[in-house]
C-alpha cells in the first residue's frame, strides 16, 4: 500500500472533504496557497490573528448552514478562543435544546520535542475532555488521521482534532480508496497478555518500541490507542485490562487530571476490571512542569520508550 505522512493524511482528508461538500470552509491565520488555489479565497480565508473571534464566527457560520474548519495551528493559540470553546461551542447545541446543528472542526497541534519552550509545547487535551458537547480525536498514524479527520468533518457536532507535532513527518499505509473511521473507537495496536499500555498519539509508537524491547525480556505487551479522547472507548480499554491484569498509561501531557487520570479512573471504578487488576496502575507521563527550552531539560521532562519500558518492569515487579 502507498505510504504517506501523518501531515499529508490530514491534508488529504481535508481536501477530499472540501471537494465533497461545498458548505465546508477553512478559517486560519495562515491560508495554505494550494487550498486557496483550488477552493478560492472565499472558502479558504486567511484571518487576522484573532482566534477568539474566528472561533466564534465558525460557530455562527455552522449555525447558519456551513461546516467551518478552523485551524488554530498550535494548541497554544486556542486559549485566546477559550470562551468561545467552553462557553459557546461545547454548550450551544444543548443550551438551545438541540434546535440547531453546529458542524465544526477545530484543528490544533499538540506536544513537545521541538525545543519551543513552555507556551508552544503543550498537550492540554484533558482540559477539553472535561467539557460535555465536544468530541476530541487524537490519532497516532496516518491511517487513523485520515479516517478520523473525515469523520470529524462530516460530524454534525464540534470536534477538536488534536494532532501530534512529533508525528507530522511519520509515514504509514493509507489506502487510495475512500474510508472513514468511527469517532469513539479505540484500536488495539499490538496484542499481548502481560500488561496493557494505553498510549496516546506519539507515545503509541514509543510504547510499541518499548513492547519490542520487553518482548525480548519475555514480557508480552498489549498496546491500546484510544484514538479519540471524547468519547473515550472505556470498553476496549477495560477489556484489555481484564485480559492482562495490568495497566500502564503513557501520555505526553503531565499526569494531573490528565487523560491518563481519566483512563486510570475508568479502569479502577469498573468492578469487573478492578477485580482483574494484579498491580497498581502506572502513569508514565511528562513531568508536571511547564515545558523547558533547553534540549537537556526538555528530554528530561518527556516520557519515552525507555521510561515506558522501565515503568512496565516496575509494574511487573
Amino acid at each position: 500500500m502507498r505510504q504517506i505522512s501523518y501531515a499529508q493524511a490530514g491534508s488529504e482528508a481535508l481536501v477530499e472533504e472540501l471537494r465533497r461538500d461545498p458548505k465546508t470552509l477553512v478559517l486560519s491565520t495562515d491560508a495554505a496557497p494550494a487550498l486557496v488555489e483550488e477552493f478560492g479565497d472565499q472558502r479558504i480565508r486567511a484571518t487576522p490573528i484573532a482566534e477568539g473571534a474566528v472561533t466564534g464566527m465558525a460557530i455562527g457560520a455552522a449555525g447558519s448552514g456551513y461546516r467551518p474548519i478552523v485551524n488554530w495551528r498550535i494548541v497554544t493559540f486556542s486559549f485566546v478562543a477559550m470562551d468561545q470553546i467552553v462557553n459557546q461551542a461545547s454548550k450551544i447545541h444543548y443550551m438551545f435544546g438541540g434546535q440547531a446543528k453546529f458542524p465544526l472542526v477545530f484543528r490544533a497541534t499538540v506536544g513537545g520535542g521541538g525545543k519551543l519552550a513552555a507556551q508552544h509545547s503543550q498537550s492540554p487535551y484533558s482540559m477539553f475532555m472535561n467539557l460535555a458537547g465536544l468530541k476530541i480525536i487524537l490519532p497516532s498514524t496516518p491511517y487513523d488521521m485520515k479516517g478520523l479527520m473525515k469523520s470529524a468533518i462530516r460530524d454534525d457536532n464540534p470536534v477538536i482534532s488534536f494532532e501530534s507535532s512529533r508525528l507530522m513527518g511519520f509515514k504509514g499505509d493509507v489506502p487510495e480508496e475512500e474510508y472513514t473511521l468511527p469517532i469513539g473507537k479505540a484500536d488495539v495496536k499490538r496484542e499481548g497478555s502481560d500488561i496493557t499500555i494505553v498510549a496516546i498519539a506519539w507515545l503509541v509508537h514509543e510504547a510499541l518500541a518499548a513492547a519490542e524491547t520487553l518482548a525480548k525480556e519475555g514480557v508480552s505487551v498489549e498496546v491500546v490507542d484510544p484514538r479519540s479522547l471524547f468519547p473515550l472507548d472505556a470498553e476496549t480499554i477495560r477489556t484489555s485490562v481484564r485480559k492482562t491484569g495490568r495497566l500502564l498509561i503513557a501520555d505526553e501531557a503531565g499526569p494531573t487530571a490528565g487523560a491518563s487520570a481519566e483512563i486510570a479512573a475508568l479502569t479502577a471504578e469498573d468492578a469487573d476490571t478492578f477485580a482483574c487488576l494484579k498491580a497498581p496502575i502506572k502513569r508514565v507521563c511528562a513531568l508536571q512542569v511547564p515545558v523547558p527550552y533547553s534540549p537537556v531539560l526538555e528530554d528530561h521532562v518527556f516520557p519515552d520508550r525507555d521510561k515506558i519500558a522501565a515503568g512496565v518492569r516496575a509494574v511487573l515487579g
Binding site: L25, Q42, R43, R45, T47, P48, A50, G52, A53, V54, T55, G56, M57, A58, I59, G60, A61, A62, G63, S64, G65, Y66, P68, D83, Q84, N87, Q88, I92, H93, Y94, M95, F96, G97, G98, Q99, A100, K101, F102, A132, G133, K135, D156, N157
Partner: protein, 354 residues
Amino acid sequence: MQPIIIVRLRDKAEQAVHHIVGKSGHHLGNMRMQPSPNNQIEMLRQMQTIRRFEERASDDFHAGDIYGVVHCYIGEEAVAVGVCSALERDDRITSTHRGHGHCIAKGADLNRMMAELYGRETGYCKGKGGSMHIADFSIGMLGANGIVAGGIPIVTGAGLAAQLDGNGGVAVSFFGDGASNAGPFHESINIAAKWKLPMLYICENNLHSANTPASKTLALEDVAARAAGYGIPGVIVDGNDVMAVHDAATIAVARARAGEGPTLIECKTYRQSGHTERLEAYEHRTSEEIDLWKKKDPITQFANNLIQREGQLSEADWKQMDDEILQAIQASVDFAKASPFPKPESALDDIFAQ
C-alpha cells in the same frame, strides 16, 4: 472619520425629518423615511409587548415561578424594535443576557418564550436554557448569551454565511456599552470591515454595565467613535426614539445588502429596571438619573407621538392594544403553566446532534 449623529426633528409641516450631522456639528444632509402607518402601529405593539412580557416575567420571578436570573430590557425597547423592523425574517441576529426584547422584536413566540422561563418542556430550549439562552433559529434569532460580547463573533459568522450565501441577507449584533470594551467587539468589527460582511453592530449604550457607569469604562463617551479605526460609518442615534433607530438601521441594512460592509450604530438609551431582577448588592445609579430617563420613556413617547402628532392612533386604540397584549402575555403564562416540566432523564438528551 467622525461619528455621524442622526437627530430626528420636525420640519415646518410637523413632519419627521432626520438631520444627519457630524459630531462637530456640521450638517451632512436630511433624510425622510417613514414606515407605513401600519408598520408604526405594529412597532408600538411590539414595544409594548416586550414591556408587558418583562413586567410579568419580573413578577413571576419574584413569585418563584421563574428561576435563576432575569435581566429586563425595560426602557430600551426602541432599540430592538427599531432595528428588527428594518430586517427580514431570514436576517440573523444575536442577543445578550438582556435578550427578551430582541426575541420578541425578531418575531419569537411568546408562549414558547414564557414556557422556557418557566423551565418547561414546551419552551424554546426544552427548559435547558432559561432567560439567558433563548434562541429561535427558524426566525434567525441565534441566541441570547450569558457572556458579555460572546454573541458578537457568533453573529459575525452568520454575516460570513450571509455573504457566502449571496442572497443579500444581513446579520445584526446587539451588545451593550460594556461589551464594546471587550476584545471580541474589536476583533469582529475589524474582520467584518475587512471582509465587507453584511453586518450591523448595534451598541445599546444604556450608560451602565451592571454596577459600573460607562463613564468609568469607556475611554471615550461615544462608542461610535471607534468605527473610525476600521473605516466604517459610526452612527449615534437617540435609542429611545424608535423611528430614529429604525431609519438608521434601514440605511445600514441597505449598505450591508449592497455589499458595502458593516455599520456601527450606537443607540443612546437607558435601562429603567435594575441590572437583574434579583436583589442586587447595590444600585449605584441615582434616582434622579433614573427618573430623568423614565420621562424619556420610548413607549410613552412613541405612543404619544402616534396619537398626538401623527394621528394614527386614538387613545382608545392604544388602550385596546395594551389589553390585547396583556391577554397575550396571560395566555403565554397559562401555556407555560399548563406545560409539563421536562423529564429528569431528558437532561441527557441533546448533548450531541445525531
